[in-house]
Symmetry: C2
DNA sequence: CAATACCCTATCGTTTTTATAGATTTTAAT
DNA sequence: ATTAAAATCTATAAAAACGATAGGGTATTG
């Protein structure tokens, strides 16, 4: 299951990207427009800022804004930051690899063999989608 | 993340398929060979039996055995029974569809658009793999 | 009778989600 | 320059859902 954190983060990014201006947008406005709990969204936007997707401006007239062009924001990066590893099992993860404790030989493991294919197919999707692609109706 | 239920279920099925005979195999033997907690495996084998993948024989000399040929066991079916929906979001699920409460229009939803592609790519992998494919070294 | 599968329930731990409270920074207005 | 409002940031933790495990009883077969 996709976590709500990821779902809300994607929606927030999409909303910001859909606006013509790159002026700061208040959290309250994003939360209201996308039907998200404001406080929860607050922490999500923070991690997106910390990971270089968003900039923020404090004080009156402040808010969050995209720091890169939607065309340059790859879903692989967004998903890894919000959802974590793309692989369903650590033993097939590129960025978060871990050996299975129970498995004596990965090359002979049926789970490994299947999940490797699933990872590759998911990666191809994420690599072929930028934030801009998700907006185009 | 792949649940351990699914992981163990797949390993158990693989082990049974790898044996030449289709005689009943005791839970204890499967658990030991695959490093799985016997009690946990018990409940997993039960759901595999209830869903038509395994047969069981009670009493002395009893155990579980494959009810179909490995070539006829599709990963789509196995994954749906063990892991649940293949889609990461209910609004793109074929077998477990549910409308999002917060989303006014699915066709304009960026999450929907992305997860639809992910679902299709995963489905293609599962449709192209039978239990027999996972055994072939 | 003994071995084994089946079934029901309770518990523990982790993750996810939401909620609360307050501190800090920045801006705009006076 | 000062003040007050607006907004971000930080920290904590309660609530809920889920995963994994364990215990013990019942039924069936050889």
């Amino acid at each position: 299951m996709l976590s709500k954190k990821t779902k809300y983060g994607l929606k927030a990014l999409t909303y910001l990207a859909s606006l013509e201006s790159r002026e700061p947008v208040q959290i309250a406005e994003i939360a209201k427009h996308e039907n998200i709990s404001q406080k929860f969204l607050e922490s999500i936007l923070l991690t997106l800022r910390r990971n270089g997707f968003l900039g923020s401006k404090k004080g009156k007239g402040g808010g969050y804004y995209l720091i890169k062009e939607p065309e340059d924001i790859l879903m692989t990066a967004v998903m890894r930051v919000l959802e974590g590893p793309i692989a369903m099992v650590p033993c097939v993860s590129l960025n978060f690899y871990e050996k299975c404790a129970d498995c004596p030989d990965e090359n002979k493991c049926s789970v490994n063999k299947l999940m490797l294919q699933v990872r590759d197919s998911a990666l191809e999707v994420y690599r072929n989608n930028t934030l801009a692609d998700l907006i185009a109706s």
